[in-house]
């Protein structure tokens, strides 16, 4: 789908903050509210905008269980379907949040989420590494998230240090 400049603007605005009110977006891009609504609807229907989700920093929530691991997976590709078959076998698991085909020393990079180290470990040893095409796995647990999808996860908000009135 080829986007018009205004549609592009709308996508860019929503990508930084999906909760901006439609009337505000309308003003920012210079369209009427109805036109903006229509444009957003079209973008949704064409799956340019796939979903609106929140970036949650779960570490701020007390006693919230949850660990993430990045796993490097070496696999044997199959004739005819290459890596797609095994990737699908893997991404269908609910525990798996992302799967990427990589260049370099391993083939698939996957991200697995679980409630505990044990849960992820069990998934790897029982589900993932037992798949026929999987040759080896290397699991890296994420200890701390500093930046995610372009957003720096600050521990405290940075105060505006500018002087209140300046020439």
């Amino acid at each position: 789908m080829k986007l018009s400049p205004k549609e592009m603007e709308i996508v860019e605005i929503l990508e930084t903050n999906a909760r901006i009110a439609t009337d505000v977006i309308a003003k920012m891009v210079g369209l009427s509210i109805e036109e903006t609504e229509q444009a957003i609807k079209k973008l949704e229907e064409n799956k340019v905008i796939v979903r609106y989700i929140s970036l949650v920093d779960w570490t701020k929530v007390e006693n919230h269980p949850g660990v993430r691991a990045m796993i490097d997976v070496k696999v044997t590709p199959k004739r005819g379907v290459g890596f797609n078959d095994i990737a699908e076998r893997i991404y269908r698991f609910d525990e798996v949040s992302s799967v990427y085909l990589m260049s370099g020393t391993y083939d698939l990079s996957i991200i697995v989420e679980g409630k505990s180290l044990n849960e992820v470990a069990n998934f790897v040893s029982q589900k993932l590494s037992t798949l026929e095409s999987v040759i080896s796995t290397t699991t890296h647990f994420i200890l701390k998230k500093y930046k995610h999808d372009g957003i720096i996860l600050e521990t405290e908000t940075i105060k505006d240090k500018r002087i209140v009135v300046s020439p």
Binding site: E9, E12, I13, N17, I20, V24, K27, M28, V29, G30, D160, R162, I163, V164, V165, S166, P167
Partner: protein
Amino acid sequence: MKSTRTTYISKMATDLKPSGIRRFFDLAAGMEGVISLGVGEPDFVTPWHIREAAINSLERGFTSYTPNAGILELREEIAFYMKNQFHVEYAPKDEIIVTVGASSAIDLAMRTILDPGEEVIVVEPCFVSYVPMVELAGGVAVRVQATKENDFKILPEQLESAITSKTKAIMLCSPNNPTGTLLNQAELKAIADLAIEHDLLIIADEIYAELSYDDEEYTSMAAIDGMRDRTILVSGFSKSFAMTGWRLGFVCAPIEISSAMLKVHQYALLCASTMSQYAAIEALRNGRPDVEEMVKSYRRRRNFIVQSFNEIGLTCHEPGGAFYAFPSIESTGLSSQEFAERLLMKEGVAVVPGDVFGASGEGHIRCSYATSLEELQEAVKRIKRFIDSL
């Protein structure tokens, strides 16, 4: 021994009026929960790669003076930038001086061109420093008023009627602080014709040049036919690269003027900050995407705030550049000082009364939209409540 302190102070310094902005700063600074639309600088922090370049220069020990005109490498980058971006050519060795912000470049220009009593035409509303800088250099500032009827664009005939035998230069700023007004090529050309006819210089403060939002490409005064030789072009890194605190600007002028300015500069300031200069090299080499992102963001916020002001009854022309909206508050019957002061006290929104920028700024307020969209929305809400309460 002299008895009172004031006897030590020159007449010039005694007569200088404190900036009207200062008073507002004092009022607002002590208050809690203020949303400020009074800030004359970007809300972006300097892009990291630029900051990192300065850190690197410190780590490598580049802490000595630089040549008076600035590091040659930087001047070469500036020459390249001015040619690419604005289609004006200056020799890096002789026609570009790196200064301590654009302010020091304007000061330098005034002190270099003015003999006592010579006049500079200053177009108001304008940046608060122009008139004092003319006066500090021994000149006389002749104010002409750009008016709201003309979207704050000065008309050539207004300039012409201010020209006398003592006029040396016209001080011009586009896009303008505080009105955001941007002069297009034809409007610049009309002023240029006047300058050529009367043999005047133009000091063109183009510090906001990158922040222009019209579809039409920005035109520099120096790019107008015949103007390169009579333009002192002032620019810098503060607004375009969000580098206000680095205090780094530059001035481009034909060699006769540049070499004279360099003499003044070497005695007054020696050179601009070394680490800032290294940061600026990085800004010019790799900062283009940052500028584009920031411009996009400002443009959207401008559209939002201008339309919002018009909706709540504050007539606002669409500013072509900078990051200021300059709505009229005449419908409220208040003076701009009263409006700004009462708005601040009642709703905790800081704006700058238009009259501090010149007589024709009366009846307007300067609102900087270089602040987050959330704050802008809240500010509009509060301003509406304030107007409704009058």
